[in-house]
Every structure is written in C-alpha cells, then in structure tokens.
C-alpha cells in the first residue's frame, strides 16, 4: 500500500512574454514543460530519492507533492487523497498536516522576524492546536537546546537553522516529509550531522522521505529507491545498489561516470558530450538522444515508455 502515488504527472509553465511584446514581435506563446508524464510510488517508511541536474523538474515535482503547485495533468495521491481535486475541507486539512517540507536554503526558510519558538509551532498553532512545551521538546529532539526557543534565526549557523527547519517540519507529526536539497547549502561536516539526524528521526517517528537532490553520494547514502530525472522525464528507477552497480539508462551511466569521485585521483574520463537541451524545445523522441552514445533512429522518433527490466524500471528503447 503506497503512501504516495504519482500518476502520469505533468506540469507546463507559460513562459510567454507579455501579450503586447508578442503582438509586436509576432511571436506565439511559449510553454516550458517542466515535468512530463512522471509515474512513481513511494512506500511508507521508505526514502524515495529524485535525482537530476538543473532543469530536470525535480523541485517542481516536490512542490506538486506538497500542494504548492497544481499539476497541469495527472494526479498526486497521498494516503489516497488528491489535494488538487479533493473538495472536503476536513480531509484537505488532515492531509496538509501529514505532509511537510524541508527547503534548500536555511537562510530563507525561517522568517527573520519571528522567534524560533513561534516558527516551530506555527504548523500546530495555525490550526489552534496545543503548543505548550512543543517547541522545547522538538528543539531537543533535533539536537538544539531549550534556551534556543527564545532566539531569532540570525543567531544560528546554517546547520543549526536547518535543524530548526526540521523541528518545524516535525511539529504537526507528519507522515511524509519532502526534502528539497536539504544539505546542498551546508558544508560537508555539517551535512553529515544533518543527514544522520534525518536518518535517526526517520526511525524514531516512522517517517517517509521524498529526497530531492543533485548529489549522487547523498542520494546513495539515504535512499531506498532512486528515480533519475532528465528534462522533466523519469528515465530510470531502481534501488541504490542496482542503480550504482548496473545503471541501465545511458543517461544514468553518463551521470555516474561524470560525478567526481573522492578516490578518483588523476582519473582520466572521457567527459560527457553536450549539455542539457532547452526545455522549451525539447528534442523529439527520447529527450536524451542528442547526447546518447548508442542512439538509433527509433530514439529520435519515439518517446520510450517506462518498462520493467530485472527489477528496475527504465525508459530506454535499447537498455537491456
């Protein structure tokens, strides 16, 4: 029984210029497909990671999961409820307190004018819940001290702020936490502290994570299942071992090969060809075909369906 069920999810942004410019310059409207027909499921108490480079649509998916953005088509069901179409206010409210998010920038995600106590209890206080001693309890759980409740965010370092963000995310006792690049703004030694904390909390509270990241080492360390995105499309989904040992999609192979390795002293790799295409005019067929070393004619014409292959799912005509 999956906790999160994403079906055929797409999101299109209108990136046209204002109509007057369009009329004068004789241009038509421009649309950017950030996410295109993505399917996946997240099991309860697991960590599902979405990896991809810039423009892969991973953050857009994250925002649709938590209801900050509405899908253009397709559905996101969490505990069998679709936030975008549900009309029962009580159900929406119940789901909202079950979903939380941790953001990338610990400096922008805390209101600088609020005291830490008020920040942490807001998810509960705004529903009129009991917040007595809540902030203090959560602060201790994330490794800060009780006295910190009376301080302002600017008195904390980046790592400590991210702990406060985690405390806020835990306040409403959620089941699902979407973590959007939770450690990419942090230094390595602080990143280790935050990742360990996230693992501990997952076990203690029975949490489910959707982890959005561009960092393959973090993803491998945290995830139970990994979905690789390219240009808004899911190209491969596998367990960490399968993905890192036997990547099936040429893009995954390229990504793993290109990532710098800590023990790769003087490693001479053939750097990958080309760059990520413009998402406003994505290539026909398989979006990766212009950079793919094994592309054939069928790849240029037909978009590959997601298919199962030895326990992983891959969207490639040629993978085997």
């Amino acid at each position: 029984m999956a906790l999160v069920r994403v079906k055929n999810l797409s999101r299109v942004f209108d990136v046209s210029k204002p109509w007057l410019n369009r009329v004068i310059e004789r241009r038509s409207k421009a649309f950017l497909t950030a996410v295109s027909e993505v399917d996946f499921e997240v099991e309860p108490r697991s960590t599902y990671a979405l990896v991809g480079e810039s423009g892969s649509g991973k953050s857009t998916i994250g925002k649709m999961l938590v209801g900050l953005l509405k899908p253009s088509s397709g559905t996101v069901e969490i505990e069998d409820i679709d936030l975008a179409s549900e009309t029962d206010a009580a159900k929406i409210d119940a789901i909202r307190s079950d979903i939380q998010m941790i953001f990338q920038d610990p400096y922008a995600s805390l209101n600088p004018r609020w005291r830490v106590r008020d920040i942490i209890v807001e998810p509960v206080a705004s529903r009129g819940g009991n917040t007595e001693g809540l902030a203090e309890k959560l602060l201790e759980q994330v490794g800060l001290s009780v006295q910190d409740a009376g301080k302002f965010p600017h008195e904390f370092s980046g790592g400590q702020r991210q702990r406060i963000c985690i405390a806020r995310a835990l306040a409403s006792e959620p089941n699902l936490i979407v973590c959007d690049e939770p450690t990419s703004a942090l230094d390595v030694s602080v990143q280790a502290q935050v990742l360990n904390l996230m693992s501990d909390l997952k076990d203690d509270f029975g949490l489910t994570y959707v982890l959005i990241s561009h960092d393959l080492t973090v993803v491998r360390h945290m995830a139970d299942k990994i979905g690789v995105l390219y240009l808004g499309r899911l190209v491969e989904e596998a367990s960490p071992n399968d993905l890192f040992e036997t990547p099936k999609h040429p893009y995954t192979q390229m990504l793993l090969e290109a990532a710098p390795q800590m023990d790769g002293f003087g490693r001479e790799v053939q750097p990958p060809e080309g760059e990520i295409p413009d998402p406003i005019n994505p290539p026909s067929g398989c979006a990766f075909h212009p950079r793919c070393p094994i592309a054939q004619d069928v790849c240029k014409q037909q978009r590959p369906e997601m298919r199962s292959l030895n326990g992983t799912r891959v969207a490639c005509h040629l993978a085997e």
Binding site: E53, N196, A259, D263, F265, P271
Partner: protein
C-alpha cells in the same frame, strides 16, 4: 626543484571590525610550481577565497594584507598598487570565478573581449589577435568558434560561458590561473567537462593553477597537491593522494570521514561535533581544538602548531589513518 611560479610566505589578511580585528587568512604559506594544480579546500568561512583575492590584489577595503609576502615568478607583488597590479593581473594571472557572467562584459562580443585583452598585454597586431581569439575558443572546446566570436555572452549556456571565461583567462598566456569555485554553479556533466579542460590546458601550457573549491571530489580528480584550510589557517598541505587517503590532521580526517562515499553504502556518517568558529571567536591555540577528539592542554594554548617540514599543522598528527 625549479623556482615556484607563485610563492606565498606567512600571509595574513586582516579586517578591522567594530568588534575588533578579525583575521580571515592567518599565517598561510604555500608554493605552486609550473604545470601544477594546487587545490585549496575548506568549508565556508575558512578563508580560501580571501587568500586567492589577496594574491590578485582584489581585497575589498578595509580588508588588507597585514603580514607576509607574495612572490610571483621571483617578483614580490604583495605591495603593488593600482596600475602595476592591474597590468600584472591581466598579464601574469588569469582568473576564473564561480559565476561566469561576472567576468564577462555583457555588452561586448566575446571575440572583442578576447582581442582587447590580448592586445593590451601582448605586442601583437589586431589581425593576429583576432586569429588567436578563434584559436583560443577552439582550444577550450567551443564548437563553431569562427562564428561564435561574434556572439554576446548571454547567447551561451552556462557551461559554454565558463569555457569562454577560461579562454579569456588564458589568452594573455599567464603563468598563474586562479580558479575560485569554477564548477560550483554547473551541473555534474558540465563540471566534468570543465575539470578535464582545466587539467589539459594546465598540462599543455605549463600554467600553474590555484583551484579553490569546497568539493573533495573535484579536489581528488583535478589537483596534484592540496592545501586544507580551517579558520583562516593551513591545516594540512601535501600531495592529494596522501592527504585524502592518509590524512594527518584530525580535521582533514573528520572532513573525509563525514563525506558519504559511494563505496561504503549506508553506514552511519562520521560527524565532527560543532561547527567552524566564527572569525571573531577563534579559540586560543589550535583553532580546531574544541572539536578535536585528540586535543590536549597543549592544543588549547598558544603558540599554535605550524606546518614545519611536516604535512599537518598539528601537535599530534595521525599516523596510518586510512580513510578511503
């Protein structure tokens, strides 16, 4: 060994603030040889960029060099001012920054920027400079270089722009290139291209490169030697393989052990307790002592341990601590 291209001797940078003087760079010494890539690694606030800025004379007042010497090709440059520094910067030192857009003039075609730079610093004719501009773009791997010289910076993608910046940094044939987080803003696949390019150019031309980054993976793959900085001081300096596989300074060891490694799966990550001290609250003695598992009273008192002969600035360097 040949004379180093760049030699920094006991360099300190000070910034007077209203809470007293802070020292973002404190007694740092290192050399870079021709054809060598020296990595400067450290967490935010370690002073790694500040050291690079001091070399090129780009410290923002009130920050200033308070102590030490900087030698470039046998010439002392730390006291150079204004015009002399600017000439040197273009001619002898090339710069590559994190954001390629800040190094390119958005209003000039990139061909013109390259030609201008070359004609300022090399004694060549315009026709010759134009020819070399195309060659320079070809060398950094820009397809269709002959046409692209007429493009403006905004017409390039992020990775291509960084290539243009590298071409620009190298076109006056400098002996030293300072690259400050050159790949941080780029995607993994493009990052690999840029690192490969830097390495090839450095090898082919014998340019010395100072590569400043926070990414241990980039350090491992790109550099020959590495300097690890902590709270403005040099913690460890040595060949990249030695430092990364057998760190002697407990900080380097902690840093390596806290990085998730592909080969080690889902083990619990090692944590260094605490965070780097703020520059206005650097502890006495070794700056790392409050976070160090091996610290003794000796570490908590001045004078601080210095790199002298050894690799690590530590009273009790680790032996045989294999990390990778």
């Amino acid at each position: 060994m040949a004379d180093p291209v760049l030699s920094i001797r006991d360099l300190s940078v000070e910034i007077p603030t209203r809470h007293g003087i802070v020292r973002p760079v404190d007694g740092v010494s290192y050399d870079i040889q021709a054809g060598e890539i020296l990595g400067i690694v450290g967490e935010s606030g370690a002073g790694k960029s500040m050291a690079g800025n001091a070399v090129i004379g780009l410290l923002n007042p009130p920050a200033h060099i308070s102590k030490g010497e900087i030698w470039l090709n046998g010439q002392r440059i730390d006291h150079l001012k204004g015009d002399a520094m600017r000439r040197l910067r273009g001619k002898e030192i090339g710069m590559v920054f994190q954001d390629p857009l800040t190094s390119l003039n958005p209003l000039l075609r990139i061909g013109d920027q390259l030609t201008e730079t070359m004609m300022t610093h090399l004694t060549i004719s315009r026709a010759e400079a134009e020819k070399r501009a195309v060659a320079a773009l070809e060398e950094v791997g820009i397809p269709g270089a002959a046409e692209r010289v007429n493009s403006y910076p905004h017409e390039f993608s992020g990775g291509m722009r960084q290539r243009v910046v590298i071409a620009l940094a190298l076109c006056a044939e400098p002996s030293l290139v300072i690259a400050d987080e050159p790949t941080t803003a780029l995607d993994v696949s493009v990052q690999a291209q840029i690192i490969a390019l830097l390495r090839r150019l450095c090898r082919d031309r014998g340019t010395a490169v100072m590569l400043i980054t926070h990414d241990m993976g980039v350090i491992a793959e790109a550099t020959d030697r590495v300097a690890v900085m902590y709270a403005g001081r040099l913690a460890e300096l040595g060949s990249v393989r030695d430092v990364l596989t057998h760190p002697q300074h407990p900080y380097t060891h902690g840093l390596m052990a806290s990085t998730p490694l592909a080969s080690q799966g889902k083990r619990r990550l090692h944590q260094i307790p605490g965070a780097m001290p703020r520059l206005d609250a650097v502890p006495d003695g070794c700056a790392f002592n409050p976070r160090c598992p091996h610290a003794t009273d000796k570490c908590r008192q001045a004078p601080l341990p210095r790199l002298s002969g050894g690799r690590a600035a530590c009273w009790y360097p680790l032996v045989d601590e294999k990390v990778i």
